[in-house]
């Protein structure tokens, strides 16, 4: 199949970049003088970059062990950062300039928890088939 003309970074380099960005964001969030209006768009951007890396390097391919581990670590970091932001915004409200509501931030966080369930939930094939049959009936 012909590749898209859009240039893509190598898979391992992409994960390294996402890891660096997420770690930098974690560092900023731990800073004494936290800039919440700045942290939200940074986190949203990191989640988007993570999803792109996931779509290119994890889904539909056989990722290497380090790639799988990087995916798991970054997902955990982004989820923790999201929890932190959502808790702050529940107390203080979402800054107006963010252009989004608290419910939108919560939905992004919920999508990260869904990913943890999908990738690391550990449901057996037998249970999966049972649930799908119970809910949707036999195929």
């Amino acid at each position: 199949m012909k590749e898209s003309p859009v240039l893509q970074p190598p898979r391992s380099g992409r994960w390294e970049a996402v890891q660096l960005l997420t770690a930098k964001n974690a560092e900023d969030m731990a800073a004494r003088e936290l800039n919440l209006p700045f942290q939200l768009p940074v986190w949203v951007r990191d989640v988007q970059i993570f999803q792109d890396a996931e779509a290119e390097g994890i889904i539909g391919r056989e990722p290497s062990a380090p790639e799988r581990q990087a995916h798991k670590e970054i997902l955990a970091m982004l989820t923790a950062q999201g929890e932190f932001l959502v808790n702050r915004f529940r107390e203080q409200g979402v800054p107006e300039q963010a252009g989004m509501k608290l419910a939108d931030v919560e939905a992004i966080l919920e999508a990260l928890y869904d990913k943890q369930r999908v990738f690391f939930g550990g449901m057996s094939e037998q249970r999966r088939a049972q649930v799908l049959e119970e809910v949707f009936g036999a195929s």
Binding site: S4, P5, V6, V44, Q51, A55, I59, G60, G99, M100, K101, A103, D104, V105, E106, A107, I108, E110, A111, D114, R117, V118, F119, G121, M123, R127, R128, V131, L132, E134, V135, F136, G137, S139
Partner: protein, 80 residues
């Protein structure tokens, strides 16, 4: 609604929830969860279980939708 159409509707809303712009996240999350609540209403399965059970299908669906999107983008980039 037939089985495949109900599954497709959930996967489509889930995909939009992940790919839409930030101010639309809650809208798509609510849409997806509403479809899941309707599907699981008279069963013993909960939303979390159904999401996990649909997980592999969702990942395949996501790959297919992204491929479609990239093909469209490539076509646009090739246009003079």
């Amino acid at each position: 609604m037939p089985r495949d159409e109900r599954i497709e509707a959930i996967l489509a809303a889930w995909y939009e929830m992940e790919e839409c712009s930030p101010p639309e996240k809650a809208k798509w999350r609510d849409q997806r969860n509403k479809l899941i609540e309707e599907a699981t209403a008279s069963t013993r399965s909960c939303r979390q279980e159904l999401l996990e059970a649909l997980g592999p299908r969702f990942l395949d669906y996501r790959v297919a939708r992204r491929k479609e999107h990239r093909a469209k983008m490539a076509q646009i980039l090739r246009q003079p």
